[in-house]
Amino acid sequence: MKRNFEDDKKNMVVVEGSYAVADAVKACRPNVISAYPITPQTHIVEDLSQFIADGEIPNCEYLNVESEFSAISALVGSSAAGARSYSATTSQGLELMHEVLFNVAGMRLPVVMTVVNRAVSAPINIWNDQQDSISQRDTGWIQLHAEDTQEAADMTAQAFKIAEDPDVMLPVLACMDGFILSHVYEPVILLDEDLVAEYLPAFEPEFKLDPKNPKTFGAFADPHSYTEFRYLQQQAMNKALKTIEDAADEFYDLFGRHYGGLIDTYETEDADIILMAMGSIVGTIKDVVDKLRAQGVKVGVLKVRSFRPFPAEAIKNAIKGAKVIVALDKNISLGLNEGALFTETKGSLYNTNVNIPIIGFMIGHGGRDIPMSTMEAIVDEAKKVIDSGITVESQFTDLKEELL
């Protein structure tokens, strides 16, 4: 039976982005939540602790741990014991978890963690960019980025669905931009618990820590077998490419909302210039696209939802008709002077028949505002590339010369 999605709109409530995510976590019926506070993640774990205090999350233990290292380590144990396990963090907290992130992924534990993206120290800075999660690129976690608060909430349910898929069994970082999404109040539709139950079946892993059926987790693998463990992780990432799409489609069927699967596109069909980006900046770009389209500029936006697995094929298909691609990155690989989206898009197209110039802009570091005028200037640079080729491949945006 198809639901009447129009009714949902009447049920919209104005809540903080963090609340929308916490409420979505609740709807996913987690068994163990671990928490350690760090701005701008705090409101999510505070809201969850209130749900616990009010008895609103049955069969759930909430652990106030002594560090992020233990927050994620506790979930190694809980997930291995068959519990649906959740945490949230950002920036310094996520970097502190680094070693454990590899471990969670290597043991194929489908933990879900919200990352409220924030810059990393030094200098210390609590505002948004995406250096924190990008720096966890090779840990073996699926990494998804949300554009708005509704998507961040809905992505939580999708994340568990993807992670726990028996063909995948990989942990997921569900990323949302700090403050821009976590602290903004917007009308959203909160997830209906019964519908989520339909969407997301109970977590029943094939293997778990169980005295009735003893298994060994985290064994020692020598050169004879280590490679195959890595290979199988990569295979799971490959499978996740489809699972992420399916999770988005199934979500649409039940809830009537869709944000793209691996990627999403806006006005790219006939676009000469395609801007690609991840997270909340996509909303700003869409406004710029509308404005420039009205002036006759053929520009579109490609939103990358899944940074890992990297959707090379989907990106290629979406951009192949364009004349120039612009990758916008809220991160930088120091010493390469490129953001990750730029490097990886460029790299994934190199041996293909798609040969379109790509330029990169590093933007919005440490919460630096990104006005529409900046975006328009970037589009002007892209036009120049169409006319006369690339002059600067990758660069910082809006540098303040007076501070250098």
Binding site: N31, V32, S34, N59, C60, E61, L63, N64, V65, E66, S67, F69, S70, S73, A74, L75, V76, G77, S78, S79, A80, A81, G82, A83, S85, E99, V100, N103, M107, L209, D210, P211, N213, P214, K215, T216, F217, G218, A219, F220, A221, D222, S225
Partner: protein, 291 residues
């Protein structure tokens, strides 16, 4: 009954970790889940695709053992599966006194119902006998070697049991693999007491300490008989029991069996060091009323 720790693991002949793990499982029984950090025990018992464990076992990392154990406890409680299952975190002295300290402190403060067993072989054995916070005074290790101007490790052992008592643990005890009955009784008690409990098992390492592989138990006993390793129990912060040692042996009897103390008998001034070690034993006699 099948052994819960299967023979055929890769431990050295006379390995203390294997003995400690075996006694722990004999006490806990098969309804338990074992969590073990990186170290000799984990490496020698789980070479993929083999495992010596006939109980559920998980190894995560070096420094997060207690946090992993706390997550397991939380999972079982949340899902109503806790029942009588004993959760045992079993780790080396390095994993316990040094790098894992934060996670142990957090898990004890949170009050999880689990037992932490420290297998104290007084150095980082798995990486080649480097000094840890549990290495005793004047022991030579690969990172605190005796040399022309050094008698080896210059610091006494960190008092981990006292730290665990300070966390408000209802049951903290020391034991030794040289005393199987003592160890099994204490682990059994520890797993039966509700809340986070701590067992510190003195465990002589044949390879790292330098003694014959047939002497593990003998060396373990000598540590107790010289009063360098007192066996005591602390319940709710009070000393409730200490094993009496009627006629303590001189510490030389213990030291001279081990390569790591050999320099004390050959270097000039070594006798002064031995006197200091004897003073540590005498202080234990006093403090725990061992006589």
């Amino acid at each position: 009954m099948k052994p819960l720790l299967q023979a055929g693991h890769r431990g050295c002949a006379g390995c203390c970790d294997a003995i400690a793990a075996k006694f722990t499982l004999m006490a806990a029984g098969e309804d338990c889940i074992v969590v073990s950090p990186t170290g000799c025990l984990e490496v020698m018992t789980t070479p993929y695709p083999e495992s010596s464990w006939n109980v559920p076992f998980i190894h995560s990392l070096f420094e997060n053992n207690a946090a992993v154990a706390s997550g397991i406890e939380a999972a079982l409680k949340a899902k109503g599966e806790f029942g009588n299952t004993k959760i045992i975190a079993m780790g080396g002295d390095g994993a316990t006194l040094d790098i894992g300290m934060r996670s142990i402190s957090g898990a004890f403060e949170r009050g999880h119902d689990f037992t932490y067993v420290c297998i104290d072989n007084e150095a980082y054995m798995n990486t080649g006998v480097q000094r840890s916070g549990a290495t005793p005074f004047a022991a030579s290790t690969t990172t605190s070697p005796a040399g022309k101007v050094s008698f080896g490790n210059i610091r006494p052992k960190k008092n981990m049991p006292a730290i665990m008592v300070a966390h408000g643990s209802p049951y903290v005890t020391t034991t030794s693999i040289g005393y199987p009955k003592d160890m099994i009784r204490k682990v059994k008690k520890a797993v039966d007491v509700e809340g986070p409990t701590y067992v510190h098992a003195h465990s002589p390492c044949t390879t790292g300490w330098g003694f014959d592989t047939s002497k593990t138990i003998e060396v373990a006993k000598l540590a107790v008989e010289t009063c360098l390793w007192p066996l005591y129990e602390m319940e709710d912060g009070e000393l409730t029991k200490a094993k009496k040692i009627k006629n303590p042996k001189p510490v030389e009897d213990y030291l001279k069996m081990q390569r790591r103390f050999k320099h004390l008998f050959t270097m000039e001034g070594g006798d002064e060091m031995i006197k200091k070690i004897q003073a540590l034993a005498d202080a234990n006699i006093e403090k725990f009323g061992l006589q």
